[in-house]
């Protein structure tokens, strides 16, 4: 500590510069992490909130299953008869609407059976009722100005749905989620503009079957028997439009930052080690052990990396606060802590690139004979 702190004090300009670089890398990683989480939430938070273990789709749908898959009513009924599984129909489609106060909204419409497990809990107002049409909207729409008691008219169809409640800030494919009974959902999904089709004349299909499977439930056997494809929720998230591409993009950026960080820190300490090679040789000459040289170099690196990382985390948080709700940004404490710990670790790993040079100064260089 004695030598480490005094060297930092004497070369504070260089260490400050290095700390700033670490801070900016940490802030960038934090901000990218915030966007990754925020975009992820914006894409699949409605699916994550679904209290299901699996969703069964039509087997022909290989991607974007919620849009492509159609499962008929008899298949839903047969899923409900399977042992060890709780099943409920689920419809998902994107629609637009306008409130009676003139507010235009985009909606990821989730058709659910009121009273079944996919029906959302409400924060305000009342939940869905099988006896009457209604709409439970995402908190995001409430933030945009939609209120309980408003009536939303679905564009082109003219279908009017009163807002009965508000649920959490859920969205799907960057569109705020709304929940409505299956009849209304089918009208949106299958209805033809200008043709008033009675609900019982519409196809009775849904996008998939939400499943709550108990351990040991034979889903593969059920799939074979019912002609469906059951996917676990981790795979179901990938069924959301754009989710996989976004994850790959953001994760790639993070991976590159994690590769760049140790190289930057390593390069700094490599130059720093070369610059003080004569002093390391002097310390070796007066008896400093390799371990002591190693520990004080690692301590210097740890102090710079820790200070830079913490400052970078603060900068990332401040950026998130400044951005507010303008962009999908979410940086929970756990995510931030994990991200910063990773930055600190890879930064220290970069220091390891220079450690061999730290421990091998030649004390003989201090003597005239070697000059």
């Amino acid at each position: 500590m004695f030598l480490a702190l005094r060297e930092i004090r004497a070369a504070r300009g260089r260490f400050l510069l290095m700390g700033l670089v670490v801070m900016l890398v940490a802030a960038l990683v934090g901000i990218v992490s915030g966007f990754t989480t925020g975009l992820g939430n914006d894409t699949v938070s409605a699916l994550r909130a679904l209290p299901a273990t699996h969703v069964a789709f039509a087997p022909g749908a290989k991607s974007d299953q919620f849009n492509r898959s159609l499962v008929d009513a008899s298949t839903v009924a047969r899923w409900r008869e399977r042992p060890g599984v709780e099943a409920a129909p689920l419809g998902v489609t994107i629609a637009r609407g306008t409130t009676d106060r003139g507010l235009e909204i985009d909606m990821a419409a989730f058709g659910v059976e009121p009273g079944t497990f996919p029906a959302p809990p409400v924060r305000r107002g009342t939940g869905l009722d099988a006896a009457r049409p209604g709409l439970v909207v995402s908190g995001k729409l409430a933030s945009d100005g939609v209120r309980v008691g408003d009536t939303v008219t679905v564009d082109r169809l003219g279908l009017k749905l009163p807002v009965t409640g508000v649920t959490d800030d859920l969205s799907y494919g960057h569109v705020p989620a709304v929940y409505l009974p299956l009849d209304a959902w089918r009208a949106i999904r299958f209805g033809v503009p200008g043709a008033a089709t009675a609900p019982d004349r519409l196809p009775q299909d849904v996008s998939g079957v939400a499943l709550r499977a108990r351990p040991g439930a034979d889903l593969a056997g059920a799939d074979r028997a019912l002609g469906t494809l059951s996917l676990p929720m981790s795979k179901v998230l990938e069924a959301a439009p754009g989710y996989k591409g976004e994850r790959v993009t953001m994760t790639s950026i993070q991976v590159f930052l994690y590769l760049i960080a140790p190289l930057i820190v390593g390069a700094f300490f490599a130059v720093w080690t070369v610059q003080r090679a004569p002093e390391l040789a002097l310390l070796r000459a007066i008896g400093a052990s390799r371990r002591r040289l190693l520990s004080y170099t690692v301590l210097q690196a740890a102090l710079v990396v820790a200070a830079g990382t913490v400052a970078g985390g603060a900068l990332a948080l401040a950026t998130g606060l400044l951005l507010g709700a303008a962009v999908p940004f979410s940086l929970p404490a756990g995510t931030l802590a994990g991200t910063l710990a990773a930055v600190a670790l890879v930064g220290l790993a970069g220091t390891c690139l220079t450690l061999r040079r730290v421990t091998t100064p030649d004390p003989l260089t201090m003597l005239g004979a070697a000059r």
């Binding site: 030598l3 005094r6 004497a10 002093e279 000459a285 007066i286 008896g287 400093a288 005239g368 004979a369």
Partner: protein
Amino acid sequence: MSLSLSGVTVTRGHGRTRTAVLRDFTATFPAGKVTALVGPSGSGKSTLLAVAGALLRPDSGAVDLDGTDIARLGDGERARFRRERIGYMFQTGNLLGALTATEQLLAATHVAGAGTRRHRARAVAALEELGLGDRLRHRPDQLSGGERQRVALARALFLTPGLLLVDEPTAAVDRSQADAIAGLIGDRTRAHACVTVVATHDPAVVASADAVIDLDSAA
């Protein structure tokens, strides 16, 4: 403390370029006395300091420091010997650029694992004794050549080593500073009763030494 070298040979190079820097060198260095090593450049003065100071292992021969043949010790043991038993004063580059004069001395205790805080008063006293009382908070770049050498001498003696090895102490200072440093080395040697070996070209340092070994004639 006693230091004796017997049959010490050090060679450099390989194959046809192999040459002996020291050949079968034998000498005993008394405690409380300054022994000056003289000889032209390349005669082996600094090499002898390196061997005596556990910085370099000879090809053959024994280096007996207080009953231990340090030529046979491993790397870690030789480092321990250097920090606990030997003080060094080099020609240049003696001081750590980041530290004040006081801290240069405390660095020696830090390297020895003895902590620093409780030695501060003693470090100040040691520097004051060498006339550096008004330079305690100065860094190397704020000191003259002579002052730097005096700080180096204070550090070399701070842990009261039995052996003080000095390499060309007056090479980078003017005549009056050189005389002062030569005098201080003699005074401190007698005060600490340590074995002092000085490699030098300076006639003033040679004149102030208690014994002289001419490596040119020894070779």
